[in-house]
Symmetry: C2
Subunit: 246 residues, 2 copies
DNA sequence: CGAGGCATTGACTTGGTTCAAGAGGCGTGG
DNA sequence: CCACGCCTCTTGAACCAAGTCAATGCCTCG
């Protein structure tokens, strides 16, 4: 995966094409995209854009994880978005970055120069339609996060984050739900704290508490396994699901 | 305003047409919208939809204020959106409401039956384009709110809310910024608390503190005047100039 | 006048932060 | 190979901002 051929990957072979902004495109539309696209790689820890920077491209994350965050003048920072493979970065029609974008792991992006992309969008409703859908999904996710930030306890926040990562990880490599969920945390304690609106000490304490009580097991600092997913879900404070039970 | 003719208002005479989802529509497109639209009024305090309800319309707020909120099983609730005149409610392509929608004041909505609206959207890029733009704006607003919920102190939260309402109010009745800003709070203390991720007691205390220190003045419980807007902005914790959201 | 909603204020508790010390890993270079 | 510095993470103790519980004030409306 680190050896991706940056010079050119054919859209037809793209691993995340079916979920990305281009998922609805017909062959001729893909050809047009193919012409204006180029790949870029960012190393783990590298900043992709600072708030206020001129951004003359938009992009789809091909692999890796990036974060969007905002900072108050005195340095308090809040992560406001997590960009995963197939997610879209940048806003058509806007020149400046409005968030700090940082590569958490190594990130490969499929970039489109902004102007040509905007032109293309005007003529190909399939792109705009898909982008609308993705934006609506992100809005839902942001609002779910608002509930977490505003009303959940530290323990619930941690459990929620673990549940989300576990679920995404499971769906990504669709193992026909094996009994034990396992995954690596893609975030440092500090990044988790910035995401959850906590301090890194509180994150550490709550992770330890969940481990002590057997809700999760840790191998090293980052590798988590969840013996009983329902148990974890109980700790999130969320509805047990669609509504029945309780 | 309370005497709006519910039977029919011509789109051409609509007070919020230039900002709403239909703002880009040509005359013929407006005619099509005109055919599937109808007005509805909700009283202050009335619930417009509960999470999980089947919703067979989408709508534009014509006047009044509605809120979107989410609730955990034990009753903790977080407001996740404020719908103001010209804002859009509902998600094309989705049958169910995903939030509780409540009228805070009397609300007049311009409704479109969902199916016909979806069909129309497919054929009129102007509507989809505008909806995308509005959704992106809402996403930005939601993310700004995440920063507030995750990282601001109670005092900063209150100051931020007051600043937002003040600014919106000023822009709405574009008084060429007169020296003293004045407005009515459209929310109860409890609603403010639900918006800010606080308890109503804390809201009350912080409002009192800001009044005691002369940052704001109160006439009654709800009428606020701001003698020095910059002073208020200092209390928000934000960058001294940034600040978007309506 | 009394009832019922909102709002304020006080006294006390607590969850989470802050400050501080130290543990465990990992790469570099002597 | 070990020593060293650099990270990230954990843990403890003291503190404080905001929550909880409870009493009271102030409207408006019947």
């Amino acid at each position: 995966m680190h050896e991706i051929e940056l010079s050119h990957v054919d859209c037809a072979d793209c691993p995340i094409r079916h979920r990305a902004v281009c998922s609805r495109c017909e062959t001729d539309e893909l050809e047009q995209l193919e012409e204006i696209k180029y790949y870029r790689t960012f190393e783990a820890g590298q900043t992709i854009a600072w708030t206020g920077d001129k951004l003359d491209f938009v992009a789809t994350i091909v692999s890796g994880i990036a974060t969007l965050s905002q900072t108050l003048e005195d340095g308090r920072t809040q992560m406001v978005g997590l960009l995963l493979p197939s997610d879209f970065m940048g806003r058509p029609g806007r020149e400046m970055a409005t968030y700090d974008v940082t590569a958490t792991t190594e990130v490969v992006m499929c970039c489109f120069r902004r102007r040509p992309f905007e032109d293309l969008m005007r003529n190909t409703p399939h792109i705009a339609q898909r982008l609308l859908e993705m934006t609506l999904d992100e809005l839902d996710a942001a609002r779910e996060w608002m509930l977490l930030l505003g009303r959940k306890t530290a323990r619930e926040k941690i459990a929620s984050l673990l549940a989300i990562i576990a679920r995404r990880d499971a769906s990504l490599r669709h193992t026909g739900n094996s009994d034990v969920l396992e995954f690596d945390l893609p975030l440092t304690r500090e990044a988790m704290a910035d995401y959850l609106g906590l301090t890194l000490e509180t994150v550490s304490r709550q992770v330890s508490a969940l481990r002590r009580e057997g809700v999760i097991e840790l191998a090293g600092k980052r590798h988590v396994s969840v013996p009983d997913f329902d148990r974890l879900m109980l700790e999130t404070g969320d509805d047990t699901d669609g509504g029945f039970l309780v």
